[in-house]
Symmetry: C2
Subunit: 388 residues, 2 copies
């Protein structure tokens, strides 16, 4: 696309991220950080590949107290890793069930273990252990003295606030997402099967510049859909259906995540009203989402509008979240989350409600937080339920 930002990041981006995390590690008394998940390895190294789709091989990035991160990775990734800013790349011929990087990690971490030093791993909310649990247990057992601490808060606080270059990428993919949704009336018509609508959506995404659409869910049913995470059925759209499409498209490894609702041929009054309530809940969220507000306050602001129609709220668990290299990231707009919203966070506002006979409706917009408040990255949904 002619107006695309550059792909990738210059080395100073990774230097800055690493310097920030090392300052926080110092404060937390951590002599290192052992990372193994796609987003974290990419965040600190720039290593970007779809090869993570294969569950076979573990990949490790170790951030020492000072200096550049150290990659401990399968040999198949060496050439790509050498194109990043990382210098110290240690490889083994993977897969090797008997020793998938464990000797290399043991060698790397032994000096720290002999000092009874502490290292951080991600053990907290929204994280996973992307290596065999048995290997992790063996590694820890081979390093007596090494203290393992949860570094989730530290990585979370860093990744939640986006850099200008990250915001540029997120802005680009959100604009692409808006252009995809503009085309929905061209292909979502009465008589078209929902799975064909999905296929046309993916085609439109490629046409307007998305790299990929890793996430696409939705629903359509008479007077409202009932589920928001299903794959598409082959049922043809019918007059009176409410159609929702929710997409996580990507560009250069960054996601948009928003949805749009449409009525096919005609809209019932209850769905119109649900739409209006959610549109206004989003407006309230847009006004409230500014530096200094907590996610809990943002949640209650949106929830108080939703309560005009649904006192219980939907069952989706929260009313929005962080957005970036992953479809959903920290924080959560939920009663449990007291995260203070900061400038340069990129967030979704995702109010939902239940109505009628087990129907659900979900709205979603993507925003970036500026000093003055929320700035939309998506083209704002129409104020009234659009009829195709």
């Amino acid at each position: 696309m002619s107006n695309s930002p550059p792909r990738g990041f210059p080395p100073e981006e990774f230097e800055a991220r690493t310097a920030k995390v090392q300052a926080e590690m110092d404060q937390a008394g951590l002599s290192g950080l052992l990372l193994m998940t796609e987003a974290e390895v990419r965040y600190f190294s720039g290593f970007h590949t779809l090869f993570w789709q294969s569950p076979t091989r573990p990949w490790f990035l170790f951030i020492p107290a000072q200096g550049k991160p150290i990659a401990v990775i399968p040999e198949i990734g060496a050439l790509l890793m050498r194109q990043t800013w990382i210098d110290d790349i240690r490889t083994w011929p993977a897969p090797n069930p008997g020793d998938d990087g464990i000797s290399l990690l043991t060698e790397l971490l032994s000096p720290l273990a002999s000092q009874s030093a502490s290292i951080g791993v991600l053990k907290g909310h929204e994280t996973a252990l992307r290596m065999p649990l048995g290997d992790y247990e063996h590694l820890i057992a081979a390093l007596p003295g090494l203290q393992i601490k949860d570094a989730t808060g530290l990585v979370r606080s860093l990744r939640m606030v986006k850099s200008p270059r990250e915001i540029e990428k997120l802005s680009h993919i959100c604009a692409i997402g808006s252009r995809i949704f503009e085309r929905v009336p061209d292909f979502a018509r009465a008589g078209t099967a929902l799975d064909e609508v999905f296929r046309a959506f993916r085609r439109a995404a490629l046409d307007v510049g998305a790299d990929d659409v890793p996430y696409l869910v939705g629903g359509a049913d008479q007077g409202g859909y009932r589920d928001v995470i299903s794959p598409p059925s082959a049922r043809p759209l019918q007059a009176g259906d409410i159609l929702m499409l929710d997409s996580g498209a990507t560009w250069d490894g960054y996601f948009c995540d928003f949805d749009r609702n449409f009525a096919i041929t005609q809209a019932d009054d209850l769905s119109r009203r649900a739409y209006d309530v959610l549109w206004r809940a989003t407006e309230a969220g847009l006004a409230a989402a500014r530096p200094g507000t907590t996610c809990r306050e943002l949640f209650h602001t949106m929830q108080s509008v939703i309560a005009q129609m649904d006192s219980a709220g939907g069952d989706v668990g929260r009313l929005g979240h962080g957005l970036g290299m992953q479809l959903t990231e920290w924080p959560s707009h939920a009663a449990f989350d007291d995260t203070v919203i900061q400038e340069n966070m990129v967030l979704t506002l995702e109010p939902s409600l239940s109505y009628g006979d087990g129907r659900i409706m979900v709205h979603e917009e993507n925003i970036v937080i500026r000093a003055s408040g929320a700035e939309l990255l998506t083209s704002r949904a129409a104020p009234e339920l659009p009829v195709i």
Copy 2:
């Protein structure tokens, strides 16, 4: 597509899988199996959604010694899970960092803990712990007496051998993959940027019936490519390039995984020779892949042909693997893997070699093992390097 097999599986498929695993659990002295990864949850329940793209929420499926599996999942998934054969569905309003399913799991597992019973979790090769490690540690600590054993071997042995309905789906997506590759000469021409080739490949995949292309990598360079896991550059294809595209397209949650090589305008002699060696290594693999052969033997059979040009072999670590709900599955065609090949395994044959000045070439075909030997699921690559 008019010739598509049915989507999903009838309940008897899940009954059979569950009965088989319960028989193996009985032999292994396991009173339950706690699963939390997408493929395993789907394999035993039929729960199929792209929502796993969001890392926020954990999902659990518990297989008791007798009876149907029990789902312990976020409320947002309840409606979709109720459409499967599962009856016992326990939900919580997720995300909830303070208790993301842990109380529900503790309640479920406490009776087993009080009997000092053993349960299985996946701790072995090619597995991950898809829940926060901290939550896992809290769960185990809350269940004194409960014995945790590695059940990787048990699940592996079951999933490696595909059912007729699974083979039908895999055959369908491999045929779709072959139709995509037939179109490559239409859009991969000198002057076309590699990222545009990728985009056209994804479009072609949708046109010929794929649901999605979660995995697409490749390379192109003068006289041979150097890397097989990179995202595409914007460099235009040039006369004398060797282009490789390697794709994991999906249909109904099942993958194909194979690649094709092309020369742009003209082919150099060394690349022609590398192609010929790999084509013959694949032929040797096709002849050797039959019930009773080990993966190690299959590896050595292909490696002995590859050694005609490259005594070290490539750096990709193995010469093929299992294929199914994941892009790569157990087993590995590698010297370490003594798995005995069985009827109804679906496998890739993926010989690779290094040549020239740091070039690499990879071939790949997908097969199903019949009583009489290997049956190709992909349209066999041309015996000579195709020139576009």
